[in-house]
């Protein structure tokens, strides 16, 4: 037994965000059980305070990078970036959920508890340096979000969404875990750096096909979580069926965390066998962009369209991973940050607009929103322009860096096809703009209630972030570039 078995204070400090989130989550669950009938829950406020505290802890932990708990966790710039990102997504989700939950008479406290637990998993994923931690992180994050997807227990679509997410999610995780078992069997370790060293040191002796198969099994698990083709089929159904704020959360938070760990595992641990996985990821990236964009073309439901759009955007991020360079990693980071804001904002716009039981979620229901609610429509316009990739929005620089990185890695065809895809994509985002601004108000817009304060705050904050990232990208990009050194 090692002499330093007891972890030092510093090591606890490095997982402080997770500790705070866990304690607060448990606390909320207890308080909720003790809450008397008819008493107002203050779980939302507690959650906000927790998230702010966790954010501060994440920033501070990022200030003293290093390993913790025998290298199971490694806090570095890359991990800190994503930790902050998922916590901010959590913050936005809390703000946009309150009015939705009240409208549906839902048990409010549990929801926030689950949200916190889900964030624990994601936050852990961002800094985990060990495949078992990756598995546990994914499961903590997923199990909580399975429940969130079906949070309105009496709603049929919620149920279906949760069931699909749960069954398929567990199924894909089993593949991932099997891959972990194999890589453990081959290299004798589950530490990400350790695997890399083992592969590099004994490259001639390692049974490469077996390592490849293990990598492939893990790829299935990650590709499922980031909804890459052909593992994307769950995403549209789940996003469509889940409560709107939960869809917003799932399309940004867990996705960012999954991409973080995907990037880390493949670029660090499986970097030595990159020539094996790069070609297939090339194809997956292209297929993901194509399926996402073309399926989105004909959607009528906003949430479903955004789901397909999120698949397409996952394709762009995969391009950056295929680029397999520091510039590519920085592009992944920047893109996911910008994507999170525009996507959460777009979902948030329909949180209150959709009314009880999400009655108005069709694109045609947005008709005349520009006249009736110019604020919401303007914010939505910013997100759509950013999703299209118009300059001066975050989406433009996100794509710019991705394709720049891809070209620098000589991925010429992937860049050409990716840019063509983003040209097609303009069509369906533009349709929303046309409906909002150029159609006469219909029933939905005429009777639309004023958005709640929380939702408005989310709309404004996301739009602001989208513009700031688009006009002054250096603010985030500098940090991304400095911390993109995960390829050792």
């Amino acid at each position: 037994m090692p002499t330093n078995f007891m972890p030092s204070t510093e090591e606890y400090f490095r997982i402080l965000p997770e500790l705070i989130l866990t304690l607060a989550g448990v606390l909320i669950m207890f308080l909720e059980a003790l809450r008397k009938e008819g008493q107002k829950s203050n779980a939302g406020g507690v959650t906000l305070a927790t998230l702010v505290a966790a954010l501060i802890a994440a920033v501070m932990a990022g200030g003293s990078p290093g390993p913790a708990f025998h290298d199971m966790v490694f806090v570095d710039g890359f991990g800190t970036f994503f930790r902050i990102l998922v916590l901010v997504v959590g913050l936005l989700t809390v703000l946009s959920s309150q009015s939705y939950l009240e409208r549906h008479d839902a048990q409010i406290g549990e929801y926030y508890g689950l949200l916190l637990f889900s964030l624990v998993g994601q936050s852990l994923l961002c800094v985990s340096n060990e495949l078992m931690m990756v598995f546990i992180g994914i499961e903590i994050s997923s199990i909580a979000s399975y429940i969130m997807a079906g949070f309105l227990r009496d709603d049929k679509r919620n149920n279906e969404s949760a069931l699909k997410y749960f069954l398929l999610g567990s199924f894909a995780t089993a593949f991932l875990l099997y891959g972990v078992a194999w890589i453990y069997g081959i290299t004798g370790t589950t530490n990400i750096d350790g695997i890399r060293q083992a592969l590099l040191n004994n490259l001639p002796a390692v049974p490469l096909p077996a390592v490849g198969a293990a990598a492939a099994l893990m790829l299935v698990g990650f590709a499922f979580k980031v909804s890459a083709v052909p593992f994307q089929a769950w995403a549209p159904d789940v996003y469509q069926g889940a409560p709107a704020p939960v869809s917003a959360f799932m399309s940004a938070g867990p996705k960012a965390a999954a991409f973080a760990v995907f990037t880390r595992v493949f670029l660090t641990a499986f970097g030595p066998i990159a020539n094996r996985w790069e070609p297939i990821l090339w194809i997956v990236a292209l297929a993901t962009m194509i399926v996402g964009n073309f399926a989105a073309l004909t959607q009528t439901n906003i949430k479903r369209m955004l789901a397909y759009s999120s698949i397409a955007h996952a394709g762009y991020v995969l391009v950056a991973i295929v680029a397999h360079s520091e510039a590519g990693t920085a592009a992944v980071m920047f893109y996911l940050a910008s994507y999170a804001f525009m996507n959460v904002g777009a979902f948030a716009a329909i949180v209150d607009y959709s009314r009880r039981n999400e009655k108005f979620v069709n694109i045609s229901d947005l008709a005349g929103l520009g006249q009736k609610q110019p604020f919401t429509a303007s914010m939505m316009t910013i997100y759509m322009l950013s999703l299209i990739g118009v300059p001066l929005t975050a989406g433009f620089f996100g794509k710019f860096y991705i394709f720049k990185a891809a070209l620098e890695s000589d991925l010429i065809w992937l860049t050409v096809l990716g840019l063509l895809n983003s040209a097609v994509a303009a069509y369906y985002y533009l349709r929303i703009l046309v409906v909002m601004w150029m159609h006469e108000p219909g029933e939905a817009a005429e009777s639309a209630p004023e958005a709640s304060f929380g939702v408005k705050a989310v709309l404004f904050g996301s739009a602001l972030a989208t513009l700031v990232l688009g006009i002054l990208p250096s603010l985030v990009l500098d940090f991304a570039n400095r911390s993109a050194n995960i390829i050792k």
């Binding site: 198969a213 492939a216 052909p230 593992f231 066998i273 996985w277 300059p391 070209l407 840019l419």
Partner: protein, 615 residues
């Protein structure tokens, strides 16, 4: 010199009108909108006179916009001989059009919104022209496209206007794709997006290695230019864009935005000069566009459509000029075209305004007496576009045609034929509108002074603008030598102009029965050009429809029943499903989705485990 003030002033106008416009009275909106452009124009004049004669480019670096490793882009603005011309046109002509629009839009809903968009457009257009690197150029490029989309769709109650806006945006995306790709290649190749650095590097490249990559970059830039400047094959959006208010057509779709492609190519002439194939392509595209658009213009009956196709055609001339190496000719024509085409559109707007929103020329006629100022100024523009001697159009068009003659004589002859047709269809429209008897049912009246004053200013510029010696001004930048051609070759364009006008006079004033006879004799040909060669329909059938249908049919249903049904239902049960109907990728069934996961994982395992690394 605080170049930043030039674009910022309209931006401030946009912000004031955009945020508070609803509560402001019309005069205040006018003051903000016109005032911001006026100040901007004044600042351009002051800068220009301060820096005259601008032998060296004046660059102002404000801050580092993006810096990451080797990738550095500053927020830099510049002014030199080339963009000083454009700045004067944009702010000067823009000012006139703003003044005009206060009269034209006086009774429209969303008055403040219109001027807010117009000011925003000015901001992006000025960024486009002032930017000292490709990225800023691209920002402006996309921004003007966005504003164009907003303004085309301004009459949003009309479905057609919305569709036209969307079409403009989508078609331009194709062009922008080319531009974006070119930009990446430039960065990869030269390590910088700065004009100065990139062009210097391009010129320093050894000829043997540079040709391939430069040709690639230039062809992609041309793709971008064909989108924005409405050239074959991406011109289809511009005629539809006339659904927007007429001042917008004049400002964006005639004088400024559509010439961005010409500016971009001229700006990049250091690269084009070393890519002769690209230049050849550019010349052919320009010439063919000029010719085809002119033939379509022959048969249009909507007054704005005629001028729209003439814009496409004249832009074709500019590209022909650039392609045959006469950059100064292209830019010269850009300027004169800005004068006379803005005038044509504003005049057409005045007619439409006077006839209570009637655009069909069959419902006009005899308007010379009812609106004399509009008529006379429009005829001035007509003389210019027809290229009659001493007008501005003559000076620039002849320069292009002469350069074309030296390059390839057939280009000259086709260009000459186009010039003849241009004179014919423009004067056909003018005679049809202003001569004869009034055929409509409204009560036409002359437009207010706010509209006619800009017309008069532009008329003077259309006639006299040719005396501004652009070729001389640009000499030190483009280093071209001006070829001398036979007097006959130089004079023939005048003859073509007079001939076209004479023919139009005969057919539409002296013997008005001829056009109908001709149309019925050559009914097939007439229908073909009246329907613009059915290009829209062809695009619809060949691209738009398959794209929408394909995504429905192929992606969702096109999965072979054998694979997925087999996996899901097991052997023997395949046919027990929904009788031969193909299962869909997104069938909603959990087991189907799981089948995809399994199929995908087998594929991935085989690819990475077994096949991977074999190459």
């Amino acid at each position: 010199m605080h170049l930043w003030l030039i674009p910022i002033l309209p931006l401030i106008g946009f912000l004031i009108n955009g945020i508070f416009g609803k509560k402001l009275s019309k005069p205040v909106v006018n003051i903000v909108a016109i005032g911001s452009v006026l100040l901007s124009f004044a600042w351009v004049l002051k800068t220009f006179s301060g820096l005259y004669p601008l032998e060296e480019a004046h660059v102002e670096k404000y801050f580092t916009w993006i810096s990451s490793g080797t990738f550095n882009i500053g927020f830099d603005l510049m002014i030199d001989k080339l963009n000083s011309i454009l700045l004067l046109i944009i702010t000067g002509v823009g000012l006139l059009i703003h003044i005009y629009a206060t009269g034209y839009m006086a009774h429209e809903e969303g008055y403040y919104r219109f001027f807010a968009y117009l000011n925003l457009f000015m901001f992006f257009m000025l960024i486009l022209v002032l930017g000292a690197n490709f990225l800023l150029l691209f920002v402006g490029w996309e921004g003007v496209g966005l504003c164009s989309y907003l303004l085309i769709g301004f009459y949003f109650t009309e479905k057609f206007a919305g569709d036209a806006g969307k079409k403009a945006f989508i078609v331009n995306r194709v062009g922008d794709f080319g531009f974006a790709l070119a930009m990446f290649l430039i960065f990869i190749q030269f390590g910088s997006l700065d004009f100065a650095t990139a062009f210097h590097a391009a010129e320093q490249m050894p000829k043997e290695t540079s040709c391939g990559i430069l040709t690639g970059i230039c062809l992609l830039l041309i793709l971008g230019a064909t989108g924005k400047s409405a050239q074959i094959p991406l011109y289809v959006w511009l005629p539809d864009a006339m659904a927007g208010p007429t001042p917008v057509s004049a400002l964006i779709h005639a004088a400024t935005m559509v010439t961005a492609g010409v500016y971009m190519v001229t700006r990049s002439h250091a690269m084009f000069n070393n890519a002769p194939i690209a230049l050849e392509v550019l010349a052919v595209i320009g010439l063919l566009t000029a010719f085809f658009a002119a033939t379509i213009g022959l048969a249009q009956t909507d007054i704005k459509k005629v001028f729209a196709y003439s814009t496409v055609s004249q832009l074709g001339y500019m590209f022909l000029g650039l392609g045959v190496g006469s950059y100064s000719g292209g830019v010269f024509h850009l300027m004169t075209h800005a004068f006379f085409k803005a005038l044509l559109f504003l005049g057409a707007g005045s007619v439409i305004h006077g006839c209570h929103h009637e655009q069909e020329m069959s419902q006009m006629g005899g308007l010379m007496k009812k609106m004399p100022v509009t008529a006379i100024t429009l005829f001035c523009a007509g003389f210019a576009i027809a290229g009659l001697p001493f007008t501005s159009g003559a000076a620039s068009k002849d320069l292009i045609l002469e350069a074309a003659y030296v390059h390839h004589p057939w280009m000259y002859w086709l260009g000459l034929l186009t010039a003849f047709m241009t004179a014919f269809y423009v004067f056909r429209a003018l005679f049809w509108t202003f001569f004869g008897e009034y055929r409509g049912h409204a009560h036409p009246h002359e437009s207010p002074i706010s509209m006619t004053a800009p017309l008069m200013v532009l008329a003077v510029l259309s006639l006299g603008g040719g005396f501004i010696n652009i070729p001389h001004w640009l000499e030190s930048m483009t280093h071209e030598h001006h070829p001398h051609v036979d007097t006959l070759i130089a004079m023939l364009p005048f003859a073509a102009g007079f001939g076209g006008i004479a023919l139009a006079y005969v057919m539409y004033v002296l013997a008005p029965g001829i056009p109908e006879q001709l149309a019925s004799t050559f009914s097939g040909l007439y229908r073909l050009i009246y329907n613009k060669y059915f290009v829209d329909e062809a695009y619809d059938a060949a691209i738009v429809h398959p794209l929408e249908e394909g995504s429905r049919e192929l992606l969702w249903k096109g999965v072979d029943a054998g694979i997925i049904d087999g996996v899901v239902n097991g052997a023997g049960k395949t046919s027990a499903g929904i009788g031969g109907v193909l299962r869909r990728l997104q069938s909603g069934s959990i087991r189907n989705y799981a089948a995809w996961v399994v199929a995908g994982s087998i594929l991935v395992i085989v690819a990475i485990g077994v096949m991977g690394g074999s190459h």
